[in-house]
């Protein structure tokens, strides 16, 4: 479904379908990262990603409640329209490393929240449909709130160095 279709009967449904997918993807990716970091003994980052997964799940429930009673378009994963390759709040795999610090994980999440805010804000400005504007603005404001909270948490953390990506667990070599 194209965002150029401005039929007010379908625009809110299209927006909510995208919002649900966005939050669902964020929740699943954060959950996946939490498990992955835990299995690599990076517990602080695992715990943080688990919290972010919970936050995304709450937001997903909120969108579901707003969409209750509506028939949302049934889109395949590749039919959603995102500004980038993946949904805006989804952590990009290549940004990750098992040695990443808590600050780096928070900065990654902050970038995700800002991307989500920008996406929702963009949706609000691209439509004339009043209910869609209201919902998109509300979601954008919530993402802005999450970003502000993350900024506060990052500022409160002691200075942490960035991890190095080079593997230093050397292979056993014959003498």
């Amino acid at each position: 479904m194209s965002m150029d279709d401005k039929d007010p009967n379908t625009e809110l449904a299209n927006f909510l379908a995208h919002s649900l997918e966005l939050e669902s993807e964020a929740q699943q990716r954060y959950g996946e990262l939490a498990e992955s970091m835990a299995s690599h003994r990076n517990q602080p980052v695992a715990d943080f990603f688990r919290r972010m997964a919970t936050e995304a799940e709450h937001h997903q429930q909120e969108v579901s409640e707003l969409a209750a009673g509506m028939t949302l378009p049934s889109l395949k994963a590749w039919e959603f329209e995102w500004p980038e390759a993946e949904a805006p709040e989804t952590s990009s795999y290549e940004a990750l490393h098992y040695r990443m610090s808590l600050v780096e994980a928070m900065q990654l999440a902050l970038a995700n929240e800002r991307a989500a805010e920008q996406y929702y804000r963009g949706f609000a400005t691209a439509t004339d449909d009043v209910p869609t504007i209201a919902a998109a603005t509300r979601f954008a404001d919530e993402e802005r709130g999450h970003a502000a909270e993350l900024e506060r948490l990052i500022a409160a953390l002691p200075e942490q160095g960035t991890h190095h990506r080079e593997e230093d667990d050397e292979p056993h070599m014959p003498e």
């Binding site: 290549e94 490393h97 990443m100």
Partner: protein, 278 residues
């Protein structure tokens, strides 16, 4: 009559959690496979994922369907045998660049030639990751990150798409792990193709090849429709940089085994089964 429940991508994941390194591109392929299965509404009970050995070959354990974690480089042999014996099943073969192009190189070229109706997804990170980072058949010749090849492997890497084309593969596509939704779409197309489909996925190993985080900047999505001329495809595959993604080549060719043999095989199987009845 109850309405069929539409499964979501997460419903196709098993309870087994991946132990890949955080940031590994194979997570993306796993997500793409489950998204494609959900998009196609594939029946879990009639789907089999077959793999060889290596990081990527762990994938069948993470999908809630039937799976076979096979012998190194032999995933394609098992997958083809299964499909010939049970043509009703959806069969996906999976593996990495070492498994598929080195240890299983012969199975790869003959699978392309034989054209059994399966989908082969090769997750190419240009390195043997499970054994801690040695050069593979697709490693750049100047890659000097391994102590085993301190000056780089010094040999030209395979071009998997060119190799597949020369061996007769009728359907060739490439994806990038930074774009799982595109991979999902390509998998859906590959499964729908009535023959051997080869999906080459550039799937980064950020642990042993951290420079692969730069792939995002060089990957492009090919706008043109899939080539149908083998001559044109050969020119493309021999001269491109290996980072063009999308459905690159497609031709219509009858899959193997021929229809007459299928009927004969089914009769033979039925006869065999009958001979076991008491």
């Amino acid at each position: 009559m109850t309405e069929a429940i539409k499964l979501k991508a997460k419903d196709y994941k098993s309870e087994v959690k991946p132990i890949w390194c955080p940031g590994c591109g194979h997570f993306s392929v796993l997500n793409a496979i489950t998204k494609a299965m959900a998009g196609l509404g594939i029946d879990k009970d009639n789907t089999v994922l077959v793999s060889g050995i290596g990081c990527s070959s762990r994938l069948p354990a993470y999908v809630d369907s039937y799976g076979f974690h096979g012998v190194h480089g032999r995933g394609l042999a098992i997958a083809q045998g299964l499909k010939v014996a049970r043509p009703d099943l959806t069969v996906l073969a999976l593996g990495g660049d070492g498994d598929g192009f080195s240890i299983g190189g012969n199975h790869f070229i003959h699978a392309c030639r034989r054209n059994v109706n399966i989908t082969y997804i090769a997750m190419d990170n240009e390195v043997y990751g499970m054994t801690k980072g040695q050069a593979s058949p697709t490693t750049p010749m100047d890659w000097d990150h391994s102590k085993l090849t301190p000056h780089g492997p010094g040999v030209r890497p395979f071009k998997p798409a060119a190799l597949a084309l020369a061996s007769g593969a009728p359907w060739i596509a490439r994806g990038y792990s930074g774009n799982p939704n595109q991979i999902a779409k390509l998998i859906a197309q590959a499964v729908a193709h009535p023959g051997f489909s080869f999906l080459h996925v550039m799937s980064q190993c950020i642990t042993f090849c951290p420079e692969q985080t730069d792939w995002k900047a060089i990957v492009t999505e090919r706008e043109e429709p899939a080539l149908t001329s083998a001559d044109e495809a050969a020119k493309l595959f021999l001269h491109e940089d290996g980072f063009q993604t999308g459905l690159l080549y497609r031709e219509q060719r009858a899959s193997w085994p021929p229809e007459r043999d299928r009927a004969a095989d089914q009769n033979a199987l039925a006869g065999l089964a009958a001979s076991f009845r008491v």
